[in-house]
Structure formats: structure tokens, C-alpha cells
Symmetry: C2
Subunit: 350 residues, 2 copies
């Protein structure tokens, strides 16, 4: 199959992990007789530097003409002082919104060799396998008004029924092909938007009789993720709640440097990026961990291209590399071998 | 000294833990020659049942005429189906707002005998001693509009500069009498309200030169709380962020059943309540853990009555009781003695 892939390396370690990821993808292309056309675009800080905007029109056009988007990472202290519209993050928020990528999937799964690196006790994280489904184009991130009026300031948490329903249905569908359990997280004892959210979950639930649904308040979910993370299968929640809970969840299994994410819409187009940030402190040193980017590309193969064999091959390659003890310096694996980015990519390709 | 204390036991285990707490307070009164006048009021579900509203006027009046308020817990499944205005939580939100209790203090401190009950590895929680200062009368909980308009729904995160400044100054002051470190948590890369929040923190910081300030994004803070909780001294943040982070933090040290909170305003008046909820499943069985309520009363002695010796006496009594291995069944202490609520209170009084 021929696929057009928009490649947005971004800032910091973005270009390094992206380069490694592309090499792995090329190995997959060779082995499975596909044809991938990679086209690079700018986003975030590097786009501000080059074109004066974090999301140039050319990048939007590129993404619109592609079958999938790979994104490295955006941001860094260099651009932190700028006005709102000239912040790298605006590029990320902008492309999510422009492309209508409303469903952000963040899986967190125990990797055996990394369990010792978890801050949690081993018996709590032996079998974590959860998926956070975060609404990504609405909620508190995008509601209007958002701004100042004299001494007052507001942000707005805004949803329509249709926006809530499509993310909730997406989460139900994902639960159907996983362990058939959905936890909807809201703050229905305080927020009106959460009350509507909960109503809609209850309304659509009968369409998915094979999925067991429960509701948790967001404060309670933040506790439960630490107390007993194995209770979760699919979690669905509002944009900002999902931001917070997915970062919290990313710490559970000691595998932060490996966590991928997918941002999807109703058709097959999606954007894939590691959960980690641009890590400006280690950028350019050739020591960044490429595994999260590689795992994100595997999600692309699966969700956008329907290439399950290929995705499995990549994921298994990553697992094996780790089991053989090879890793970058960020992962706390005892008795392993620390490699630089490109050497680790070589191992994965092997 | 004579003090008028409004006693709002509320729902579920609220009345049980409140009764135990009052017995301990009476022992303190006796020993230190104070005179406390306790007057009971209704709030939450029990108020809905008795008076048709979660916050009767008589309760507001009682609180306004008191030097401090002790609150047990509100809520339970019995009232969950009701309309917004008839939910127990509205009583809690209402009394916070009516009394102007803008500063919610939630300390989380390692208790040696409970470390084994922490979900985190021991080396991460040996010396946790943090204080979350949550803004309590503004932000996403109280902003207008909040409601539906056809198929759309909004909630509003709203602040004035003055509201942000007073909570931030409060947090700086608390850091000054602790370890001189303040972490302000926001989402300044996305929210306009967070940008103003961060500006104000930076503006008032020079007035507290002995306090080191840092900013963390809320998603990152949710990670850091698990990764390395000992890095925190005082954390200050918006109402909902504080709700989520304080519940997350409450899991760190295995001591959830012991965690107190204080809700303060500019004068000495405050409301004191355990962090745990009304636990309807165990209500009425006489097995509820009264220690969080007792620790909350100790905070009252300290913050509202300036009775530091007395507060210390209560806190030390709780510590000793635990060290001697006495506890209720919720705490996971190996080789201890499980007692019922009233027997544990007896031990604390001893
Ligand atoms: C960079 C930032 C705007 C972004 C977000 O908050 O969505 C990031 O934290 C994420 O989770 O992808
Ligand atoms: C009961 C609820 C309204 C309340 C809150 O969200 O403030 C509770 O979770 C708390 O943290 O005190």
C-alpha cells in the first residue's frame, strides 16, 4: 500500500526521535512491501523561528493531504516568554483543532522489564493495561470567551451534546475490542458540563450492552489511578481532565519514555506523537529515547493504515530490544546496556 | 478562652467521627481550662431530608455566629439522583462561598507507621511533608455562566486579580513558616486564567524574598506528585486543580484516613473537615476512622484559636496511638490492634 505521511519533527528531541522512528518505519516498509511517502513540515518553536507562526499554512495543507501525521514534540524555554499566539503549544492545539482530531488515545501498559522503575509497588503495577480516551478539541481548552476583561479573567469549558456523544461512543467502541469496561470520569457533583457528560454516557450505554460502565469523579479517579490502577480498562474524559489524568497515569509503570499517543477523528486520519515532551535539556546529544515515537508509529500503522501485522512487528521489536536489556539512559533498567538513540534504533530494526 | 464552635456532622460516617472528635476536644478543654460551646447544625443530605435544602438558613446563621466550624462529611447515594440544587454537595459549596472561606489547606505528611500502606515505594515517601493550598471560592466551581443552552453546555473558570492575589499571598505566608518553597500550579500554556495566575505569582514574589518560587503545569504536577513527592513544600493552585491534586496527594503516604483540611478566610474564622468522604457503606457500624476529624480539630485549635500547645497535644496523642498500633480497620498497619471508633477515641484521650 502507498501512504502519505506528514512528518512534523518539531522542537528539542523531536527531530532525533523522529529520525529514528523513520528508519524503523522504512525497515517495515521494506519487509512488508508498502510504499510510504514522508513529507516534512514545521510546527511549534522551529516554525516560529522560520516563519513567524507556530502553525504555518503549508503545514496545515501538508497534513490535510496526508493519510497520517507523525509529530515529535513542540516547545522549549526559548519560546516561553512570547505572547500567547506565538507559543509552540499553539501549533499543537491548532493542528488538533484544524484536523478535527477529537479523540486522543493514550495507552499505558506494564512493560515487564520496567516494573522496577515504577514509583508504585510492584504488586500494584504487574498488570496495568489501561487506555485513556481524552476529548481533544473541546472543553476548557477551546471554549469562548477566554481572555481578560479589566481585572477579571475567564476560560470556558464548553461542549455540545454531539461533541460529547462522539467521544463517548469512540470510547465504548474501544472498550468493546479490549476488556469491555469503561470508566467515564467527570465532576458531575459540581459542573453542569459534567452532568450532561454523565447523562450522555448513560444514554448511549445501552447501545454497547457488552461494555460495563462506571462513573468516577475526577478527584476520585486521580486517587484510584494510584491506589489500584489495574481496575481500569478504558477511561473517557474531558480535554483538561484527560490531560491531567493521562500524565498522572504515565508515571505508573515506569515507562514514561515509551508511551505513545494517537489523536483520531472519525475517518482513518490520525496524528501520532509520544507522550513525553521536547526535553530541551538533552536535545542534540543523541541520547533521547526513540521508543515512544516508534510505538506511536506502530499506533499509526494500526489505527490509520489497518496494518496490524506490521504494527505488531514493531511493538514486538521494541519489547524484545528492552528484554535484551538495551535502552537509552532515561530508563531505569538494572543490568541493561545503555545505548545512544541511533544504536538503539539499530537494535529495534534488527 | 471561650469559643463558639458550629458542629455540622453531616451524612454517613460524619456523625460518628464528629462524636469522637468532640470527646477528644472536651478532654483538651478540661486539661487546658478553656470553654468550648458546641452548637449543632444540619448540612448536606440530612438537611435535605429534614428541611428540604442542603444548607438551611439556620445553619448559615449558626456558622456566622461561631468562631469556627467543624464539618464531618456530606453526601451519599440516597441523594445522588436529585436535581442540582438538592444535592448534599451544594451545602458544602454553599457554606464555603457564604462564609468566604477562600483558602483550603490540605497537608499531607508521612506517618511512619503507615508507610507500608502507601502504594508508593517506601524510599519515595519517607519524608513527605507537603501542603496543598487550594483556592476554594472561585475558579471553575463558581464562574458564571454555568448551565445549558439547547444542545450546548458551559462552565466558566473565572477569577479576579484580587481573588488570585489573596490566595497566592496566603500560600507565600504559609511557605514562610514552613520550608520556604512554593510551587504554583497552573496551565499557563493553554488557559488565559492561568496566565494571569502566573503573572500575579511573579508580581507578589518579591514581597517574600525568603520563599523560593517555581511554576509547574498541572499535568506535570500530577506526574511529579508520584515521581518525587518530597520535592514539594507548599503548592498553590486553582479550585478544581486543587481538588484533583489534593485527592491524588492524599494517596501518597497511605494515610488517607487521617488527612485533615482547613478552609480559611482573612480573619481567624475557619471550617475544618476530614479529606475523606461520608463513606455510606460503613456508616452506622461504629468502625469509622475518627483520626482525620480529630486532626482537623487540631488544625482548628491552631489556625482559628491560636492554641498551639493544645493542637500539638492532640496531634501527638494521635501519633502515639498509632505508634502503639491502635487503629481502625481501614488503616493497613501490620501487627497493630484494630479498634472500633469509640475505643480508638478512648486511646487518643488517654
Ligand atoms: C503542550 C500542551 C498544550 C499539551 C496539552 O495540554 O494538551 C500537552 O500537555 C499534551 O498533553 O499533549
Ligand atoms: C464534595 C465536593 C463538592 C468537594 C469538592 O469538589 O470541592 C470535595 O471533593 C472536596 O474536595 O472537598
Amino acid at each position: 500500500m502507498e501512504k502519505r505521511i506528514a512528518v512534523l519533527p518539531g522542537d528539542g528531541i523531536g527531530p532525533e526521535v523522529m529520525a529514528g522512528c523513520q528508519r524503523v518505519l522504512e525497515a517495515v516498509v521494506d519487509r512488508f512491501n508498502h510504499h510510504f511517502v514522508f513529507t516534512e513540515g514545521k510546527i511549534g518553536g522551529c516554525a516560529i523561528d522560520a516563519e513567524g507562526t507556530p502553525l504555518p499554512d503549508a503545514t496545515i495543507k501538508l497534513c490535510e493531504e496526508s493519510d497520517a501525521i507523525l509529530l515529535g514534540a513542540v516547545g522549549g524555554p526559548k519560546w516561553d516568554g512570547g505572547p500567547s499566539q506565538l507559543r509552540p503549544e499553539k501549533g499543537l492545539l491548532g493542528i488538533r483543532k484544524k484536523m478535527g482530531l477529537f479523540a486522543n488515545l493514550r495507552p499505558v501498559t506494564t512493560v515487564k522489564s520496567l516494573i522496577p522503575a515504577s514509583p508504585l509497588k510492584e504488586h500494584l503495577v504487574n498488570h496495568v493495561d489501561l487506555l485513556i480516551v481524552r476529548e481533544l478539541t473541546g472543553g476548557l481548552y477551546f471554549g469562548e470567551p477566554s481572555g481578560r476583561d479589566g481585572d477579571a479573567v475567564v476560560d470556558t469549558l464548553q461542549y455540545t451534546k454531539a461533541e460529547i456523544e462522539r467521544i463517548v461512543r469512540k470510547a465504548f467502541e474501544l472498550a468493546q475490542v479490549r476488556r469491555h469496561k469503561l470508566t467515564s470520569v467527570d465532576k458531575a457533583n459540581v459542573l453542569e458540563s459534567s452532568k450532561m457528560w454523565r447523562e450522555i454516557v448513560n444514554q448511549v450505554a445501552p447501545d454497547y450492552p457488552d461494555v460495563e460502565v462506571e462513573h468516577q469523579l475526577v478527584d476520585s479517579a486521580a486517587m484510584q489511578l494510584i491506589r489500584y490502577p489495574e481496575q481500569f480498562d478504558v477511561i473517557v474524559t474531558e480535554n483538561l481532565f484527560g490531560d491531567i489524568l493521562s500524565d498522572e497515569a504515565s508515571m505508573l509503570t515506569g515507562s514514561l519514555g515509551m508511551l505513545p499517543s494517537a489523536s483520531l477523528r472519525s475517518d482513518a486520519v490520525g496524528m501520532y506523537e509520544p507522550v513525553h515532551g521536547s526535553a530541551p535539556d538533552i536535545a542534540g546529544k543523541g541520547i533521547a529515547n526513540p521508543l515512544a515515537m516508534i510505538m506511536s508509529a506502530a499506533m499509526m500503522l494500526r489505527y490509520s493504515f489497518n496494518m496490524h501485522k506490521e504494527a505488531n512487528a514493531m511493538e514486538v521489536a521494541v519489547q524484545q530490544t528492552l528484554e535484551e536489556g538495551y535502552h537509552t539512559s532515561d530508563l531505569a533498567i538494572e543490568k541493561g546496556t545503555v545505548l545512544k538513540t541511533s544504536a538503539l534504533v539499530d537494535k529495534v530494526i534488527e
